[in-house]
């Protein structure tokens, strides 16, 4: 394996992580602002990325900003917010071609870094506030985005499942915010929150590419000065929650294909010693095309077009997703539950285990071939407070044995079953 290491430097108010590698024809900058998930601030945080993406002090409208990015050889910029366990993370990402492949030398790294820090710390303001027009416009866009989730039935079913399953937990907070809160947000409130966030969020910056590390470090230090209060500790995500009796929720929509999604508590999170075994469990159960769910629900019984499972690593959750004909609900549910029982009973072979381990290691190494993938791998480790190198992670998966997987399986409890189906339980054709 080609070794990839990160070098981390603690600066005043932020960490900077360098990931030097010859894999890419670009240089990538990522800045991550992190705060606890909170029902009070989530809609503000959902709205901020698109407001900041619109304009900066020196590029006061989206056209000026975009032309600047185009000039930097089509630099790509994105700003978004995601849930990481019970943290909310806003990421700024910018990527420019590495100068050595360009027909003319343009000092592009420094220019890009200049713009990158301006996007974060020098937004476009009118009377010391965000532009009223931009904020209203982006509120409308976010409202449409919140409403459009209903059209993506797989995503919608998953959000509904988490709503029901994690009702009183921060994890159920919607990452896009809430329509009712959105109406109330004023320009002033948003700007005050932004200032507060820039001061108090934990900030990590990543630089990936064929770079000269000391040179970039000097550049970043020159461009980025930050003071403020940030304790640097990620929010502890609450992992355990007693499941008393599994819930079953059935809702209808005019659709042809029903979505059957099931949520479980794994009682195992990223930093736990059992986590590698949980990864192997998931691979065997529903993570891969040769898994129990795929083979039994989709192939053997031709019941579903898709049937798979996924783990949420910080919160300790497991989800099963399947798309089925509405009339097959009971049959599909029973087969999914049977597969879970098979896992708990240890009904899988050493050959299955070895294959699954190989697949997990493959995906991990594959992620290391992507610039953004590398950043996410290192950030996930950082969030969980893990000091393992990527090699350690691979070795710990190799070390998983059958009894580890059975032990992990037996800790898993079904929490909520959610079915989104056609009215009357039949396809409405």
């Amino acid at each position: 394996m080609n070794s990839i290491m990160e070098q981390t430097v603690n600066k005043n108010g932020y960490n900077i992580h360098f990931i030097p590698t010859k894999k890419f024809k670009t240089v990538t900058f990522v800045a991550k602002f992190r705060a606890p998930l909170d029902r009070e601030t989530i809609t503000l945080r959902a709205l901020l990325p698109s407001v900041l993406r619109e304009a900066t002090k020196n590029y006061p409208n989206r056209t000026a900003l975009q032309l600047k990015l185009d000039d930097l050889y089509g630099a790509v910029l994105s700003i978004d917010g995601v849930k990481k366990g019970e943290n909310h993370v806003i990421s700024f990402r910018m990527e420019v071609p590495n100068e050595k492949y360009l027909p003319e030398k343009a000092n592009i790294i420094e220019k890009a870094l200049d713009l990158f820090t301006e996007l974060m710390f020098e937004p476009y303001l009118e009377n010391n506030l965000f532009s009223e027009k931009i904020v209203n416009r982006e509120k409308a866009t976010l409202r449409q985005k919140i409403q459009a989730i209903r059209d993506d039935k797989i995503r919608y079913a998953n959000i509904r499942l988490i709503d029901e399953m994690c009702k009183d937990e921060a994890y159920s907070i919607h990452v896009n915010g809430y329509e009712t809160d959105l109406e109330q947000i004023t320009n002033k409130e948003l700007y005050e929150y932004y200032e507060n966030m820039m001061q108090t969020d934990q900030l990590d910056i990543y630089v990936v590419g064929d770079i000269n590390t000391p040179e970039i470090e000097t550049l970043v230090s020159r461009h980025l000065q930050r003071n403020g209060n940030h304790d640097g500790n990620p929010v502890e995500t609450t992992v355990t929650r007693q499941v008393t009796k599994p819930k079953e929720i059935i809702e209808t929509e005019p659709i042809q294909q029903a979505k059957l999604h099931i949520g479980y508590r794994t009682n195992t999170a990223f930093a736990d010693e059992d986590y590698p075994a949980l990864q192997v469990f998931n691979g065997l159960f529903g993570g891969f095309p040769n898994s129990k769910l795929f083979v039994n629900v989709r192939e053997k019984h031709s019941l579903a077009y898709y049937a798979s499972s996924q783990i949420e690593s910080h919160k300790g959750l497991l989800f099963v997703f399947s798309g089925i004909a509405p009339e097959d609900f009971e049959k599909a549910r029973d087969i999914i539950r049977e597969q879970m029982d098979e896992m708990k009973a240890g009904n899988f072979t050493d050959e299955d285990i070895n294959e699954t381990k190989a697949m997990i290691i493959h995906y991990l190494r594959e992620t290391m071939d992507s610039n953004h993938g590398l950043v996410e791998l290192f950030y996930q480790k950082q969030l969980a407070g893990s000091s393992k190198t990527l090699e350690d992670v691979i070795n710990s998966i190799k070390a998983v044995e059958k009894e580890d997987i059975i032990r992990v399986a037996r800790k898993i409890e079904e929490d909520t079953l959610y079915l989104l189906t056609a009215e009357g339980g039949k396809s409405d054709e």
Partner: protein, 427 residues
């Protein structure tokens, strides 16, 4: 084996046309963890009328055979090929488009075994009446899932509005009715005709050694026998210049309507140079006007006719070409007439030197960025190769474009009878 070095982008590619007709490309990338291999046949959903190998008369097969074949090749007498890849730590996949069917894997170990598995499963079909019948249920589910998706409905709906006769207007997977008619014999007929090595390309990129890999592939191919290759005769119906339907509506459960304006970019066979010009300039011009920062994007945005779902795409191929510009919008009629008005106004537009050099910089930068992905390199290379265009020379083709080229293009680009609108509305 030919070796070609592209020093400006630090890439080396090896190639060889084997005796049985198969074209092989190898690109060692030693710094990567992964290897990606893609085995492609020039056979897609539009190839429905053709002369089968060894016969003399044209036949027309049921819609959806190319996609059905893609599904069926993964199944063998002794099990599923996915499992074979799985055992070797690889993830495999396949896709069918209008013009090609591709089988691929990526792996970080057992590369040679996985390459053999890839070639062998595609070259050793196993279809029985029984397994063909069973697959129909799975594909019908897949078709139904696509039918529930507004984005897919709006894509296919616009294509259907643009093309009257060309089979690009048929869903890639066919319909539930058409796939029920597919027989084992249809599959073999299409397989034998279109999966001949002469019609196929194998591209491998990643952590490989070119010499030994080429040897392995040649060895594998020498052990198999194929009939003499013949040029495949395909037939496409006459396609009029104008669109099939200027306006069409689809009703389905959506909260926000979606509207797409389609441009019929081409409707008949393009020659190499014509294709290259059209492909580069259409992509750059559409991007110039409709990407964020573009003049037309700004107008649509300011009039609140579009939201974050706004998107555009251009696909120029040998026998057809289209551009689609679409968005979720609460005012679909206004969106459509505004986009059409803007498009028609391009006749009077003049792009300046400065603008054009920025357009070129952006396009070059974006290609370099996309080259971070080995999948992108492989897929693009194979696509352009069908036109005898070398993907790695694309950057120099872009550098050579002049502002006169783009302004001439603009004068003739849009004609109102080549525009179509498709709207997805609430039920």
């Amino acid at each position: 084996m030919n070796k070609k070095t592209y020093s400006e982008i630090e890439e080396v590619i090896y190639s060889k046309k084997l005796e049985n007709g198969l074209t092989v490309f190898l690109m060692p990338r030693k710094e990567m963890e992964k290897t990606y291999a893609i085995f492609t046949t020039n056979y897609g959903s539009i190839d429905r009328t053709f002369v089968p190998i060894g016969e003399t008369e044209m036949v027309t097969v049921p819609d959806g055979v190319a996609h059905f074949l893609e599904h069926k090749l993964f199944e063998k007498e002794d099990g599923d090929v996915f499992a074979d890849f799985g055992r070797m730590g690889a993830s495999a996949n396949a896709f069918t488009s209008f013009t090609k069917t591709a089988y691929l894997f990526s792996a970080t170990e057992h590369i040679e075994e996985n390459v053999k598995t890839l070639i062998d499963f595609v070259q050793e079909p196993y279809f029985t009446e029984e397994t063909v019948e069973k697959e129909k249920g799975i594909i019908a589910q897949e078709i139904n899932m696509y039918n529930d998706r507004p984005d897919w409905q709006s894509f296919m709906g616009t294509i259907k509005a643009l093309f009257k006769n060309h089979p690009v207007n048929i869903d890639i997977a066919g319909t539930v009715d058409s796939i029920m008619k597919i027989t084992k014999d249809d599959l073999y007929t299409c397989y034998n005709t279109f999966y001949h090595p002469e019609n196929m390309t194998l591209f491998i990129i990643g952590n490989i050694d070119a010499e030994s890999m080429m040897q392995l592939i040649e060895q594998n191919q020498t052990e198999k026998s194929f009939p003499e290759s013949i040029e495949i005769k395909r037939s496409f119906p006459e396609e009029p210049e104008q669109v099939a339907m200027a306006n069409s509506e689809i009703h389905m459960p959506v909260t926000v309507p979606r509207c797409t304006v389609g441009i019929k970019e081409s409707h008949q066979k393009l020659e190499k140079d014509e294709f290259l010009m059209k492909d580069l300039l259409t992509t750059m011009v559409v991007d110039h006007y409709f990407s964020k920062g573009g003049k037309f994007h700004r107008e649509l945005y300011q009039e609140e006719l579009i939201d974050a779902s706004f998107s555009f795409e251009t696909n120029i191929d040998k026998s057809f070409g289209y551009t689609l510009i679409g968005s979720n919008t609460t005012r679909p009629e206004e969106f459509a007439s505004k986009v059409k008005e803007l498009l028609i106004s391009t006749k009077e537009e003049e792009i300046t030197e400065e603008e054009f050099s920025r357009m070129k910089r952006k396009r070059i930068g974006r290609i370099l960025r996309a080259m971070n992905s080995m999948e992108y390199i492989a897929n693009q290379f194979v696509d352009y190769y069908r036109y005898d265009i070398n993907f790695f020379e694309l950057i120099s083709h872009i550098e050579a474009l002049t502002v006169e080229d783009v302004n001439n293009f603009l004068k003739n680009w849009i004609r109102s009878e080549r525009l179509a609108v498709c709207t997805i509305l609430k039920e």
